[in-house]
Symmetry: C2
Subunit: 204 residues, 2 copies
Amino acid sequence: MVRRGYHHGNLKQALIDATIKLIEQKGPSGFTMAEAAKQAGVSAAAPYRHFKGRESLIEAVALQGFTLFGDLLEFAYTKGNGSAVASLEATGRAYLAFARKNPGHYIAMFESGVSINANPEIAAVANRALGVITRAADELIENLPAEKRPPSTMVSQHIWALSHGIVELFARGEPGAMSPFPPEELLEAGIGVYLRGLNVLPKD
Amino acid sequence: MVRRGYHHGNLKQALIDATIKLIEQKGPSGFTMAEAAKQAGVSAAAPYRHFKGRESLIEAVALQGFTLFGDLLEFAYTKGNGSAVASLEATGRAYLAFARKNPGHYIAMFESGVSINANPEIAAVANRALGVITRAADELIENLPAEKRPPSTMVSQHIWALSHGIVELFARGEPGAMSPFPPEELLEAGIGVYLRGLNVLPKD
DNA sequence: TGTACATCAGTGAACGCGCGTTCACTGATGTAC
DNA sequence: TGTACATCAGTGAACGCGCGTTCACTGATGTAC
């Protein structure tokens, strides 16, 4: 983001980008307004023309993150080409890929203390993203006999929790160093076992 | 922790307790040395007689947390009375119970930015706790035919990731409000499906 | 048991710092005529 | 096309604040004789 003249031209996005970078590097509490302004090449007061305050800048990152996240999951889902199992597996891979490629967004979304439900705009876009997983779960189990079919929201929460747990524990520096398996393999294997347990994949 | 005279008598533990409470209430970045000292009824300089600095106080909480965590998992494990499945399920319940009853510890352990591997003392006690899950996984799969037996470390990482994901996403305020299932039920059902997928539980 | 002294565990004041935010301002831009 | 003016998006200085940490100090405690 090179600055041209007195006016920046794209300061809002430049601040969001700086925030993402800072959060990646120093964590959500290491990020400061002053630093973000500095990285955008602007005085410390300038951000307040675009954001109400510190919290609202982080929320903007989370909002953008959930939007992008939803798009990616949606896209991955369609890659399954109608196969429920393939859709779900693609969605899982997309989940990890997103967390790996956009750690700043991911942290703002899930680890920054931003209240997802307190902000309706964020809640809407977060629900859309999670809806993709639920839809995949729904298709997955629709052919199971009713007595042995768990609620699809439960299935999607299992998948989500497993994915999130792997991201938090094994896909970053700590304490992932201990893990002998790449996160992608870990998730794929985990989903595979789970799906066999659901009887939507053959015994082996 | 009531203060008696000039000397506190138990300041170290009082500071740890205050830290736990503060982290629970305001998150790891909301905790301050000054506040902790105040809650312990002591001047702001006093903590430095017992801890090198802020970081080291949080590390003490994490250390204590992992120790307690390990004890609880160990105890739960023995409750299985030799049944591998029962041991694993009890361990899972203990995991959630710990996170619910000791959120301050849990946050210090997993969300405070404390580097588990950078501190050998913490690493040792963390590995002991995780070792319980791995041991349970080991027993669980030892009777499976070798070709279809996944590594026990992988199984334990699946269980751990699922448990951690459920804690982070559904066992606290955010965004758990959306979840129609209690975390305990969610975890138990998830582990059940997973174990059927592993062929260590009958098909249904 | 008493005393002298070393050590331990506190105090209180002070420091430097950087942060979030506000405010009056000013330069740049867009628009109506 | 030119001009006047409203509005927008910056600046720079200042603020109050609270934090982590240090320092010289002092009160309390433990111990050797």
